[in-house]
């Protein structure tokens, strides 16, 4: 009996290891495919650079086929699957995976299968097609399939997204947006409720909070864009609650890039959500003071990290979640060089989660800039200011990760395009951080226009330049522009 169990568990270990290798190879495959398509977009098929890159991909594919028999790459519900195994991506491979999923979507494609016997020239031609077909074209999938056929590629097959799936995908995208919004509001509600419970000395329902953060994690993993829009919206009456939800969302996004496990993401979100909980114990008038703080008020404000620790302790739980939240509440204003507050008696390395939250916190606070305080910056200006303090206040690598999340021109930035048009950034292209999607709100004469979304990645082949580029960013407050009106969350 005992013997039987032990062989079984060693079998299991073996399978786990096998799965682990396949996962690793899958990540590699996606990243090589990404690199190959990128090279194909620039070079011709006979170019040395292209061939070199494509060979790398071919070697990997041959290795995989030898092990697995065939390769089945599927894009489904916001994930990539290799032979039924769901792939996970970390920081380095993240943009690549997004890019590949986008390619699948744009080509109306659900599946690529590569069979034994595939040749390198077949692969070259196949990859080259991605770089040179225009996905905007009508019936792109048919065209694509026809080309594959014409080029005599017989060991690589593609499958179209079935119509019903496409419909339901569209629907689920919409449904996701709705859910994202709802969950974001839930997050705000949870913070508001937690704070009012604490004020009336009631306990906070931790399981409820956890469940909310869990669904937040799920939705963020599926659709970051909507959440970037949501965090760009500001409401000054409920600043503390919304700020908490924003920091929670932005922190989780960072964690996703770092490849943190789901449970850790939830822990991170939980800690981020409650990072300012200590404010519940400061006077309401102070927290919501419509002017800058004087010195004595600052002394009070600077107590909120310790008060946060005490407040979380009063949950009467000392599990991993609460302990991490205690740590983050305490450390989130310390700064990397410990120059912040509270002052500490002993040198300490800030916890990973504290480092993430402090970046998300600073960004959100600076961009939120409550109405009456003049020191509020546009998102891109905020990032620049933060970047000056990289390595001093903020962890330099994590700050870069953060900018990769929100983009160089974050959602909500008011921009002037080289066409003279005015627009609001409404979506990030993780592929090209400086070329987001922009909703044009006024033409070059300052006339209001029908809103139109343009993708700044769009390249004009004939003129050999981009259709639109950002030339300047502006402070919306100054021109009485309410950014939230233009964000497509509604």
């Amino acid at each position: 009996m005992g013997k039987e169990t032990s062989t079984k568990s060693s079998d299991k270990k073996f399978l786990d290891r096998q799965e682990e290798t396949l996962l690793q190879k899958g990540k590699e495959l996606v990243s090589q495919l990404h690199a190959s398509i990128k090279t194909a977009q620039i070079y011709e098929q006979n170019n040395e650079m292209f061939i070199k890159q494509s060979r790398k991909l071919f070697d990997l594919i041959s290795e995989l086929i030898q092990k697995e028999g065939e390769i089945l790459l599927v894009s489904k519900e916001g994930y990539l699957f290799l032979n039924d195994l769901r792939l996970k991506f970390d920081l380095e491979k993240y943009a690549g995976s997004k890019f590949i999923m986008e390619i699948f979507e744009r080509f109306d494609m659900e599946k690529i299968s590569i069979e034994e016997g595939v040749t390198s020239s077949e692969l070259d031609s196949f990859v080259y097609l991605f770089g040179h077909l225009n996905p905007e074209e009508k019936d792109i999938f048919d065209l694509f399939e026809e080309k594959i056929h014409k080029l005599g590629i017989s060991h690589i097959k593609v499958e179209r997204i079935p119509l019903f799936k496409k419909e339901s995908y569209k629907k689920s995208l919409q449904e996701n947006k709705r859910l994202a919004k709802k969950t974001f509001f839930n997050a705000v509600t949870v913070v508001r409720e937690a704070m009012s419970s604490l004020e009336s000395r009631k306990t906070v329902n931790i399981v409820r909070v956890k469940r909310m953060v869990q669904s937040l994690v799920d939705l963020i993993m599926e659709d970051e864009g909507t959440f970037l829009e949501l965090t760009a919206l500001k409401n000054f009456d409920e600043y503390t609650y919304i700020h908490s939800a924003d920091v929670c969302v932005l922190s989780i996004m960072c964690g996703v890039r770092l490849g943190l496990e789901k449970n850790k993401l939830c822990e991170l979100g939980f800690a981020a959500l409650f990072h300012d909980l200590g404010k519940v114990r400061l006077p309401y008038e102070l927290i919501n003071k419509p002017a800058e703080y004087d010195d004595s008020e600052w002394v009070q404000i600077r107590r909120h990290p310790e008060l946060g620790v005490k407040t979380i302790l009063s949950f009467r739980r000392l599990d991993d979640y609460s302990m991490r939240a205690i740590l983050v509440a305490f450390e989130h204003h310390l700064n990397l060089d410990l120059s912040g507050y509270p002052k500490v008696s002993k040198k300490r390395d800030l916890n990973l989660f504290s480092r993430i939250v402090s970046i998300a916190d600073a960004y959100d606070a600076m961009t939120s800039g409550r109405v009456y305080i003049k020191t509020s910056y546009s998102p891109d200006e905020t990032l620049k200011r933060m970047f000056y303090r990289s390595g001093i206040f903020y962890d330099p690598v994590l700050l870069k990760v953060f900018i990769n999340v929100v983009g160089v021109y974050p959602v909500g930035t008011l921009v002037v395009l080289d066409t003279g048009e005015i627009g609001v950034v409404c979506g990030i292209n993780s592929e090209d951080l400086a070329r987001p999607r922009v909703k044009i709100i006024a033409d070059r004469y300052g006339e209001k226009k029908e809103y139109k979304v343009v993708d700044l990645r769009k390249f004009d082949e004939t003129r050999n330049e981009y259709h639109f580029s950002i030339v300047q960013t502006l402070d919306p407050q100054r021109y009485k522009i309410d950014i939230s009106q233009y964000l497509a969350v509604e």
């Binding site: 409401n235 205690i326 002993k346 690598v397 080289d418 005015i422 009485k480 950014i483």
Partner: protein
């Protein structure tokens, strides 16, 4: 024809529902077994295996196994396949299944084809945790989520009723596009300028996008550092920082909160953590002693509270209830407390059910006793005999001469088991000066105890014992007592009395026996043996004298004793 089709379809459906019901029944049976038996037991193992096979067959045939949940039923294709029998109390555990799933907001669970054994087993484990209420900070939904199943899906109702937020309370009647356009926008004039600006952004973007090798290394270091993150140690470091800097009222509040935290950890019997917290409190207390009396006093109170009656009793209950508590960490924790916990520990000592727990507490008392012998020693006044015996053991381990006082008290204990232990411990920690306390035991009812006392009196050569020993030996009934006791008593007399006792032996050996002859001879032989055990002149002389006697038995015995004496070193 069509009717036949319909009939066939209905039959198939009925059959499928039937199979679903069977699968669920087996599932519940398996769950029950998993909850009853420990993990390493073969029974739940077999059940899990069987269940997996049944699931596999069902899923291969039907594609999925989807159950709807309402408060009392589980349904398959709208047919009830499980009904909650809540009226029957004995069915409570099973009853709770639909209820537990429903309570946490799950309305549908779906198992899909390809379900791996691993997922099915973790699903069962989760149900077990929830039904047994082992995870207060989680519910079924949070636990399922944490497992990130690929083949088990579930639908949950959302209980949070969020209000829609109205964004932006700034009322802008009209965006000032005109102002914007005419006053502020500085479009780059020249192509050159445009290019430079574009380049700048490009460099910044490139810098942001690409992660240099060194940066990836840094990041991996950061992630690795987080792997080593220890929640409690981090929390304690925060506690220490806060205690170090707070003004008095806030300081008091913080200590109060830490005390509450300690209680929480005790409730979850995380004694490794409580130990670390107490050590940290003591460390901070050290820092404040001499600097801030108030702070130092308050921290001392915190440590005292951690060992007060109520808390030690709770620990006692935990030790009796939970089998998996790590006794080493409990021991560390208890040892880190102050002396005020001693009497409370003695108190629970009598309530502990397992030997290992009692032994652990004894070890703790041993540690405390080295500094506070008095307080531990007082345990011998406890009304429970077994507690007294444990305390004696502790005194024995401490091996402090001052413990004799308490042992002497226990020598008079009404329970024979206590007296026996007391003699044993007295031997260990006492010396000849403590011997007189043994004398009263010579009158004790149990001869085993009397023998032990006599032996020890002999060992310590307690002069004061001669008289009472003689009194016993000169009694008529002495010949009739147990041979073992008789032997030890005579030996003790010989050893303690030496020259002084020779007249008694002479008298004993020369006296003729008419009545009770056999027993009396026995006494005499034992007396000869006793004399022969010690090499001193007067004894030798007496033996030589007896050797000349007529009684053959005595003669032989003396000869043997003398021969033996030759071999002994001369004293």
């Amino acid at each position: 024809m069509e009717e036949l089709e319909i009939k066939k379809e209905r039959l198939e459906k009925e059959q499928e529902i039937n199979e679903a019901k069977k699968l669920l029944d087996f599932f519940l049976k398996a769950l029950k077994n998993i909850m009853i038996y420990p993990e390493d037991n073969p029974i739940p193992f077999e059940f899990k295996k069987g269940l997996y096979k049944k699931f596999k067959d069902f899923l291969e045939k039907n594609g999925e196994f989807k159950i709807q949940v309402d408060s009392t039923n589980l349904l398959y294709q709208n047919e009830v396949i499980y009904h909650d029998q809540s009226k029957d109390v004995r069915m409570h555990q099973e009853k709770s299944i639909a209820f537990f799933i429903y309570r946490d907001g799950i309305r549908e669970i779906k198992f899909e084809m390809g379900l791996p054994e691993k997922e099915l087993n973790s699903f069962l484990e989760i149900l077990k945790l929830v039904v047994k209420r082992l995870v207060p900070e989680d519910d079924l939904v949070t636990l399922l989520w944490g497992k990130d199943f690929n083949f088990i899906k579930y639908e949950v109702v959302d209980e949070i009723l969020a209000e829609e937020l109205s964004y932006s309370t700034q009322v802008f009647s009209q965006p000032d596009f005109e102002k914007l356009y005419h006053s502020e926008i500085d479009l780059p004039e020249t192509e050159e300028e445009k290019k430079v600006k574009g380049e700048k952004v490009k460099i910044f973007v490139e810098n942001i996008k690409a992660f240099a090798e060194g940066e990836i290394t840094d990041l991996n270091k950061l992630l690795a550092m987080d792997q080593k993150y220890h929640p409690l140690e981090a929390t304690i470091s925060v506690f220490i920082e806060i205690l170090n800097q707070e003004e008095l009222p806030d300081f008091y509040e913080m200590v109060g909160l830490i005390e509450k935290g300690l209680d929480l950890l005790i409730e979850t019997y995380d004694f490794a953590s409580t130990y670390k917290i107490i050590e940290a409190i003591k460390q901070v207390e050290q820092r404040f002693s001499g600097i801030s009396k108030e702070r130092s006093e308050r921290l001392k109170i915190a440590v005292e509270r951690a060992g007060d009656k109520r808390r030690i009793e709770i620990i006692g209950e935990i030790l009796n209830r939970e089998k998996k508590v790590d006794l080493f960490s409990v021991q560390d924790y208890l040892c880190s407390l102050y002396w005020n916990s001693i009497s409370n520990l003695i108190n629970i000592l009598g309530e502990l059910k397992t030997f290992s727990a009692r032994k652990m507490v004894c070890r703790v008392l041993e540690k405390f006793g080295r500094e506070n012998l008095e307080l531990v020693g007082k345990g011998v006044f406890d009304s429970r005999w077994y507690v007294v015996r444990n305390i004696l053991w502790v005194l024995g381990e401490i091996e402090d001469r001052r413990g004799v006082e308490f042992v002497n008290f226990a020598l008079k204990h009404e329970d024979v088991r206590v007296r026996r232990e007391a003699i044993r411990i007295l031997e260990k920690i006492g010396d000849s000066n403590s011997g007189t306390a043994l004398i009263p035991l010579l009158d004790y009812d149990f001869n085993k105890i009397r023998i032990m006392a006599v032996k020890l009196l002999a060992k310590w050569k307690v002069k004061e014992a001669i008289k009472p020993l003689l009194e016993i030996a000169e009694k008529k009934e002495f010949h009739n007592i147990d041979i073992e006791e008789k032997k030890e008593l005579l030996l003790a007399l010989a050893i303690i009395g030496r020259d002084e006792i020779i007249p008694f032996f002479r008298k004993l050996l020369r006296k003729r026996a008419f009545f009770n002859r056999e027993k009396k001879i026995e006494t005499k032989i034992l007396a000869i043996k006793a004399l022969g055990a010690l090499n001193f002149l007067k004894a030798k002389n007496l033996l030589t004298e007896i050797k000349t006697k007529r009684n053959k038995t005595l003669k032989e015995a003396s000869a043997k004793a003398l021969a033996k004496l030759e071999l002994l070193p001369k004293i």
